[in-house]
């Protein structure tokens, strides 16, 4: 997906854009979260997301531009994305996670071929993180064992009250993208609207105090057939989206780790450590590295 706006992007442009984000983070964002033991108000946070949209750092048009994660295939655009997240994360990890998730959600909106929807969210883990090695083996095009197929179905099935998915987000999200795997359809990404989801807020989560932790499950009446108003990404496009999102997760993480209040940083790091697959699960990615690396393209260079 080449694009005139980023095709001619130079390192110089990138540094100039980063200087804008840096100024915004230090001058506008930092005063809102000076006291790390008092978490930023949700309204301030939403306003910050809108301000970043005005700056063009978050970009909600259907045509990709210079927004974060607009063009995961372009190495320079990708560097811009994680370094912009780092500028935000330097001030507050919660803001960086929210902006990252919003950008990933909009990327998925574009993959679905439609205009991005406001107040989006995305869940990148299954019930038990990555659910062992099955997802990686599948994305690496390996033949799956019976146990791996079971793991896929269990971990990436439609979430239920007993097997929920976790979401850290601003509380006013309206749409959430979930990756789902079923034996019949294989991978799909489904964008559920809030009223189709049972979202239980879990107060006093370990970190990311600015965001709310939700346990999500799909309401029983919507479990049999995906409602028409839900967008979907299916087939090969769904797999491709998966690989891109995983890469965004890994690179996005690089953006979050900066100092702001030591104990909060420690808690936030713990959350980031466990989001989207715990360290023990990342070895599965390494195990299938050879098969995966061609799909990741430039990322492995």
């Amino acid at each position: 997906m080449s694009n005139p706006s980023t095709e001619s992007l130079t390192q110089q442009d990138l540094e100039a854009c980063l200087a804008v984000v840096h100024r915004y983070a230090s001058e506008s964002l930092a005063p809102l979260c000076e006291r790390h033991e008092q978490s930023m108000a949700a309204a301030d946070m939403r306003a910050a997301c809108l301000a970043l949209e005005t700056l063009g750092v978050l970009h909600s048009d259907q045509t990709p531009a210079m927004g974060i994660w607009d063009e995961p295939g372009n190495a320079l655009a990708r560097e811009w994305s994680w370094r912009a997240l780092r500028e935000l994360g330097r001030v507050n990890a919660g803001v960086a996670v929210q902006v990252h998730a919003q950008a990933v959600a909009w990327h998925l909106d574009r993959c679905a071929g439609q205009a991005p929807r406001a107040n989006g969210a995305v869940v990148c883990s299954g019930f038990m993180g990555l659910g062992r090695d099955a997802v990686v083996a599948d994305l690496a095009d390996q033949v799956l064992s019976t146990d791996q197929v079971r793991c896929l179905a269990d971990n990436w099935g439609l979430p239920t009250l007993d097997q929920p998915r976790y979401l850290f987000s601003l509380p006013d999200w309206e749409w959430v993208w979930l990756p789902v795997w079923t034996a019949g359809q294989q991978w799909t990404w489904v964008q559920w609207s809030r009223d189709m989801v049972d979202a239980q807020a879990l107060p006093q989560a370990h970190g990311l105090d600015e965001l709310t932790l939700f346990a999500l499950s799909i309401k029983p009446q919507h479990r049999d057939a995906v409602p028409r108003e839900c967008r979907q990404i299916t087939g090969a496009a769904a797999r491709q989206a998966w690989v891109e999102v995983q890469a965004m997760q890994v690179f996005g993480g690089m953006g979050y780790m900066q100092d702001n209040g030591m104990e909060k940083t420690l808690r936030d790091l713990n959350v980031l450590r466990l989001m989207g697959g715990a360290p023990a699960e990342l070895r599965y990615i390494l195990a299938y590295w050879d098969a995966l690396s061609p799909m990741l393209g430039e990322l492995t260079a």
């Binding site: 883990s125 062992r132 079971r150 269990d154 879990l202 932790l213």
Partner: protein, 460 residues
């Protein structure tokens, strides 16, 4: 039952299988069997059985109290909003009163100076303390500290060796506590400019004390601040360390200050990462006058009292960490026994078993170290410090292993594990940071690396 219908975890033989170790032991010669065969009881029971009978009774009582009074309140006490200085929520007051009435706040010495059973006085009190704080911390780190910090405040009075002071101070405190009006002590050494320096000889030598005492009539006036004092805002009496005017840390003297003495002020309590049921207070002494009779252990004896108290109190910090590691093991054991993935419970995956076994072994090893170190009346600085830093670091590692195993399920407050992490983080910091404790080990052993003095015999 596992998913294959055997009464065994996946990858193991069931107990009545001819190749099961349990079955094999039952086949031994009756004489040998009576020694080598054992019942499959929980590890906690096997550990307890290793203790002398009185200590077994004590450990069981501590666990019963913790399960009945502390565990049900743990999450609520952690999440409650910050209360104004010097106040307690009704639930916390209830626990404090119950602990006091049952003797859990006064059991260092036997009656009339305490509530420990006379049958227990033959056992080192630091050992009993370790058993108690482990069980309390297993139920809740914050409530454990809430009920334990005050023993630290009693420490200098105890090691002062002044029987009249012990009598005058502890007897009314014990009586009041047993009658449902808890009389707490607090231990005040840390100053805004001297945290670790007050825990280490070399650091103290290079530091200027902040809290000062000068002569005024038949007593002393104290001026300065103390910070991060556990329970400092709810204590009725505090053992406060101050330097004498124009002298350094070697003049440190311990004063017994009443919270209602004019000039004593609690500025605030901290918002903390963990152990939130226990307050950490910033205290200010605005020329507080303390009579001579309240000098604990004599003038310029403060450093000695401090060192002796720390040698006694660093071992229990190791025990707290063991309790927290054990509670992480408890949480993770329950989780992997229930959560299912790919058609089986998590415990039926071999790599999960490997991680859990590692957590159990690390916790067991730390407990063994605490018990070994605590079975003495004369805790040595090197041992006390080794136990403190090794067990607290081990606990953090065990808890992190558990968090990695549970993944995002570890993050909600109700899952308990993230609170255990926050509670345990404090054990690496207080009673001397773990770095200072490492240096204390070497300080205590430094003769080993020094040339022998002329009057000493050469090392063999």
């Amino acid at each position: 039952m596992n998913s294959l219908g055997h009464h065994a975890l996946l990858g193991h033989v069931q107990a009545d299988h001819p190749l099961s170790p349990r079955w094999a032991l039952a086949q031994l010669h009756p004489l040998v069997k009576s020694v080598l065969n054992y019942r499959p009881e929980p590890l906690w029971e096997s550990d307890t059985a290793r203790l002398p009978w009185r200590m077994q009774v004590y450990r069981r009582r501590a666990r019963d109290f913790a399960q009945q009074h502390l565990a049900p309140l743990a999450l609520e006490a952690d999440a409650q909003p910050h209360v104004p200085v010097g106040t307690l929520s009704p639930a916390l007051r209830e626990v404090l009163v119950a602990a006091g009435r049952q003797g859990w706040l006064t059991d260092l010495l036997p009656a009339p100076l305490g509530t420990s059973a006379w049958l227990d006085v033959g056992y080192p009190l630091v050992w009993r303390t370790c058993l108690r704080v482990e069980e309390f911390a297993r139920a809740c780190g914050g409530l454990m500290l809430f009920l334990s910090a005050h023993y630290l405040g009693m420490g200098p009075i105890l090691v002062s060796g002044q029987l009249p002071l012990l009598w005058q101070t502890l007897r009314p405190a014990v009586r009041s506590t047993l009658q449902g009006d808890p009389h707490l002590f607090a231990f005040a050494i840390t100053e805004p400019g001297a945290g670790s320096d007050a825990e280490d000889g070399h650091g103290a030598a290079a530091n200027r004390p902040g809290l000062r005492a000068w002569r005024d009539g038949a007593g002393w006036r104290l001026r300065g601040d103390k910070v991060y004092i556990s329970g400092g805002d709810i204590a009725r009496q505090l053992t406060v360390f101050a330097a004498l005017e124009n002298e350094g840390f070697e003049s440190w003297t311990c004063f017994l200050v009443d919270a209602d003495m004019p000039g004593f002020e609690v500025l605030r309590t901290e918002l903390k990462m963990g152990m939130r049921a226990s307050s950490a207070a910033h205290l200010r002494f605005n020329d507080v006058w303390v009579p001579d009779a309240r000098v604990v252990g004599g003038l310029r004896q403060g450093w000695a009292l401090n060192r002796a108290t720390l040698n006694l109190s660093r071992l229990p910090v190791g025990a707290m960490a063991v309790g927290l590691a054990q509670s992480a093991v408890d949480v993770v054991s329950d989780f992997v026994g229930q959560a299912r993935l790919g058609g089986r419970r998590l415990i039926d995956y071999q790599d999960v078993q490997l991680t859990l076994a590692q957590m159990l072994a690390d916790t067991s090893a730390a407990r063994a170290m605490v018990w070994q170190g605590a079975r003495t009346w004369t805790p040595r600085q090197a041992m006390a410090s080794m136990v403190k830093f090794h067990c607290t670091d081990t606990a953090m590692r065990v808890i992190e292993m558990g968090m990695d195993l549970m993944g995002e399920h570890a993050l909600p407050h109700r899952a308990r594990l993230e609170k255990i992490y926050r509670d345990a983080r404090l054990t690496q910091i207080f009673e001397g940071t773990n770095q200072v404790n490492r240096l204390s080990v070497i300080e205590d052993l430094q003769e080993h690396w020094l040339p022998p003095q002329p009057h000493q015999k050469a090392r063999p």
